[in-house]
């Protein structure tokens, strides 16, 4: 236990310093992640107003609440490993990671946490501005709000491990951008980013409930807003844990084969 605490302290310290060093580029990347929910928020409030105030149980101010919470959840759960894993293999920096006596995933977790801490500097003002500009309307439910925290944590784990598994594809192919693009499309529609999944056609909503993507973003968002009935919440948590087990098993198996396959240039 002590060893892990020391390990993470060291990882986090270097990761934090690194993020502070590149704060400007980090902040610029945030523009996109703030703008995306704002765009869909504007689109859907326009639709709500045109339809006499609300669609699918959401009025303009409920959409504002949905997308403000989504901005937070999406920011806290996102990771970028799948976009840069190919460069680690291509330029050989993976060799250094493999030399360390710990699994490389721990360094990535620390870097991810550090980025999110540093980016609070951008995130908090953005939330304040959006709250003033769009006046979100919250009607929180106590038990649902309490369930939000564990749901968010599981969502982070699920998404992080899923994306890390996806990143391992770079060991077998150099065409990872196409794979990432497919994943991104699924995440946009099935996780509730293009629209709350209640607004999707029925068949797509059913698909969304079975696949892991909704449980990475949409599920905790709806819990925070008190939109999930208790039984559905239980089903949601179960599904989260189920997918987490599946992804965890895959990552263990695939990582071993991938690392075995990896041959650094010059070896």
């Amino acid at each position: 236990m002590n060893r892990w605490a020391a390990l993470y302290r060291a990882f986090l310290r270097t990761a934090l310093l690194e993020q502070i060093q590149y704060r400007a580029s980090g902040a610029i990347w945030m523009i996109g992640s703030v703008l995306e929910p704002v765009v869909f928020l504007v689109v859907w409030s326009t639709v709500a107003k045109a339809q006499g105030g609300s669609v699918g149980g959401y009025g303009a101010h409920e959409f504002a609440a949905y997308y403000v919470v989504l901005l937070i959840v999406n920011h806290l759960t996102f990771s970028w490993t799948m976009h840069d894993f190919q460069f680690r293999i291509q330029f050989g920096s993976l060799s250094f990671d493999l030399l360390r006596p710990v699994h490389p995933i721990h360094g990535d977790i620390a870097a991810n946490l550090a980025y999110k801490v540093v980016m609070l500097v951008v995130m908090l003002p953005a939330l304040v501005i959006l709250t003033i500009a769009f006046e979100p309307h919250f009607t929180p439910v106590a038990w649902s709000l309490a369930a939000f925290a564990p749901a968010l944590f599981l969502a982070f784990l699920l998404r992080f491990l899923f994306e890390w598994t996806l990143a391992l594809a770079a060991f077998w192919t150099t065409r990872v951008t196409a794979i990432n693009q497919i994943y991104f499309s699924l995440l946009m529609f099935l996780a509730g980013r293009v629209a709350p999944i209640a607004l999707l056609p029925l068949w797509l909503r059913n698909v969304a409930h079975d696949l892991p993507f909704y449980y990475m973003v949409g599920f905790p968002v709806e819990l925070a807003l008190g939109k999930v009935p208790p039984t559905d919440a239980l089903v949601g948590f179960t599904t989260q844990l189920l997918w987490l087990t599946v992804v965890g098993a895959i990552i263990v198996i695939v990582w071993r084969r991938a690392a075995y396959r990896f041959a650094a240039v010059g070896s």
Binding site: A24, S25, I28, W29, I31, G32, L35, E36, V38, V39, V42, V43, W44, T46, V47, A50, Q51, V55, G56, A133, R175, T177, A178, Q181, I182, S185, M188, F189, V194, A195, L199, L200, P201
Partner: protein, 261 residues
């Protein structure tokens, strides 16, 4: 005339270079098709709940998507890769070689790199535009077509000048790549008509990053909702930005003293 011939040579070299990587053609086509389907699917989801978005009918929004992809492709075929190379050349000092060539440096820099496979976006966008226009044929006459052509020319000039000005900043500052990232982040907002956004965001998308003139204005032209004043404004802005970016480039060049000087 000489300039056109030079551009032709660059395009041919770029094409030859890219044809060596034929698998990339399929990957790029797949990614473009997926991207486009996603944009259209998002519109479908929105219009399953309404039949009018801020005064735009579905067929007008698909027109907008067509224009969005044409402009996106055009930027990615020449402007973005060439100016990316220019930014690298300033760091590595390779710009010195460009400057010693007996042709206009801005021209050389602007066409240095061509990614032909990115034309997939342009072709797919044109396809969507053509279908949308056919469905909306009764509203699109000769006048609208001419207005559209003019608006597209202005869009191209404005986007090019904007990129050129940002790239020129590299004579003074490092890490301009990050600033270009702002353009991409804000460009995605152009998939929807600028008019639906709140005032502050509309200003940002018009003045800070010219998404409004790049995408919305041409799409408005074929929907018959573009006023003459707006088109004249786009034309004036295009000329103004072209002139300013040229002047700014010359300032930057005067400031540049070579890699090792």
């Amino acid at each position: 005339m000489n300039a056109l011939r030079l551009i032709g040579v660059f395009l041919r070299i770029g094409f030859l270079g890219e044809t060596a990587y034929r698998a990339n053609f399929w990957i790029q086509s797949f990614e473009s098709a997926l991207n486009l389907s996603m944009a259209l699917a998002a519109i479908a989801v929105v219009f399953s709940q309404t039949d009018d978005l801020g005064g735009w009918r579905p067929v007008e929004l698909t027109t907008l998507i067509g224009v969005y992809f044409i402009v996106l492709g055009a930027i990615n075929v020449v402007t973005a890769p060439s100016l990316q190379k220019f930014l690298e050349d300033i760091v590595t000092g390779n710009l010195d070689y460009t400057l010693t060539k007996p042709a206009d440096a801005q021209l050389l820099v602007s066409f240095a790199e061509v990614r032909v496979w990115r034309l997939a976006d342009v072709f797919l966008g044109t396809g969507v535009l053509a279908v949308s226009l056919t469905l909306n044929a009764e509203r699109v006459g000769v006048v609208e077509a001419l207005q559209f052509a003019a608006a597209m020319l202005c869009s191209g000039a404005i986007v090019y000048s904007f990129w050129m000005m940002l790239a020129t900043l590299a004579f003074w500052f490092i890490r301009i790549e990050n600033v270009l990232q702002i353009f991409w982040a804000m460009y995605t907002a152009g998939r929807w008509p600028i008019g639906i956004y709140p005032q502050w965001l509309r200003w940002a998308l018009t003045l800070v990053v010219p998404v409004a003139f790049a995408v919305t204005v041409p799409a408005q032209a074929v929907s018959g909702r573009l006023s003459g004043a707006m088109l004249a404004g786009a034309f004036a802005l295009a000329l103004g930005l072209l002139a300013f970016s040229r002047w700014f480039w010359l300032q930057g060049l005067r400031h540049y003293s070579g890699a090792s000087a």
